[in-house]
Point group: C2
Chain length 198, copies 2
DNA sequence: GCTTGAACTGAACACACGTTCAGATACCAT
DNA sequence: ATGGTATCTGAACGTGTGTTCAGTTCAAGC
């Protein structure tokens, strides 16, 4: 399919994924037709099947790619003591999600449109991400720097809060990325029971 | 359409809405057909049009009904000073949302499937709800009992955190409703900068 | 017992869906 | 120039879509 020298398909493949990402995020997987995606790419519907075996796989690949990017980026964070680690995690999460609002939308909203086997695979990646945060919270509780009655529950609450930023953040709005990052990180730390320096 | 004495349609109407609620929540609006809804009710597809002018209105009515219920219930909360009010709001929000996981799912996920006019109407109701929380936060900041750099942003962050509970809570799980309610309310207060009594 | 009318069926409407595939096209190495 | 191959078209496939409507059913009101 792909050749050594730059051929057409090296261009079209990514364009198909980009168009699918945009359209799925905007209208939802079920509401987008293969013909719409093809039109966005500037091609007939049949040509899409040179780049994906079917529509379901197109969705799955987008979600899997997103989660793998997320986990890869997470792995690059340097180790740190709990309070610094939570602060770092919160800022990382906000930054990463604000950079990819469409992927985030799909990853959280289209889970139910995955076939069971695909769902299981994505769920596993999600749990690995959550486990990273829970490890930080657990360590902080053990050291006595966090006040949390239940780390599992706090993990989910914090991720929901941080991810929520993608629901309202708009480029060029009242607050810049850095400010939003700082405010959310501070709220996350406080929610974990850290009393900030006066 | 409806008669004084109990006739069939007094039964079928609610059953249509209930079936649509269940199916839309599970599979998404776009992925559910009128024939599936009809089958769930035990009727042919054509009969649904005795109870709704079209599929879009069915969705809109479900969402509008949910938001109106939410606002009506909110209005019954007694006035209170900021800290007590935030605690009360958090517990109310959790309780209300845990009682209607399907409506919540639809209200947050199917916004993009609303026609523009319907979307505007639902958005307005949502903003009224958010305004109630922001008023509490604002009052608390004014009194000096909350530490929040930005009440608008905190409003959205807190609602995202609290609503997230519906993503994982399952009846008969490790924690009961009351425990979840208490833990989330405590986290919300701390996130707002309230230092809990030792 | 007859009439009325709401509740519902079953077939049909025009259109859109995901997917397949024979054939046209255009570019590559030889 | 020729053969080969990756790319893409355009039409077709069977199935499903939301919605309409003439006709059937059946219970209540007179």
């Amino acid at each position: 399919m792909a050749r050594k020298t730059g051929s057409h398909s090296d261009i079209t493949g990514p364009r198909v994924r980009a168009a699918a990402l945009r359209l799925f995020a905007r209208h939802g997987y079920a509401a987008v037709s293969m013909r719409q995606i093809a039109a966005e790419v500037g091609v007939q519907a049949g040509a899409l099947y040179l780049y994906t075996p079917d529509k379901q796989t197109l969705l799955f690949d987008l979600m899997q790619g997103h989660m793998q990017e997320l986990l890869a980026a997470l792995a690059h964070l340097p180790p740190a003591p709990p309070v610094a680690a939570l602060n770092q995690f919160a800022r990382f999460h906000i930054r990463f999600h604000l950079d990819r609002p469409e992927s985030v939308f799909i990853a959280y909203m289209e889970l139910r449109n995955l076939e069971p086997a695909n769902f299981t695979a994505i769920e596993a990646l999600r749990r690995r991400y959550e486990a990273a945060l829970e490890a930080i919270l657990h360590a902080g509780v053990a050291e006595g720097v966090f006040t949390l009655p239940d780390t599992k529950l706090a993990t989910l609450a914090l991720i929901a809060m941080l991810t929520g930023v993608t629901n309202w953040y708009r480029e060029g709005g009242r607050l810049g990325r850095d400010e939003v990052e700082a405010i959310y990180a501070a709220m996350a730390l406080r929610a974990a029971g850290v009393i900030p320096p006066a």
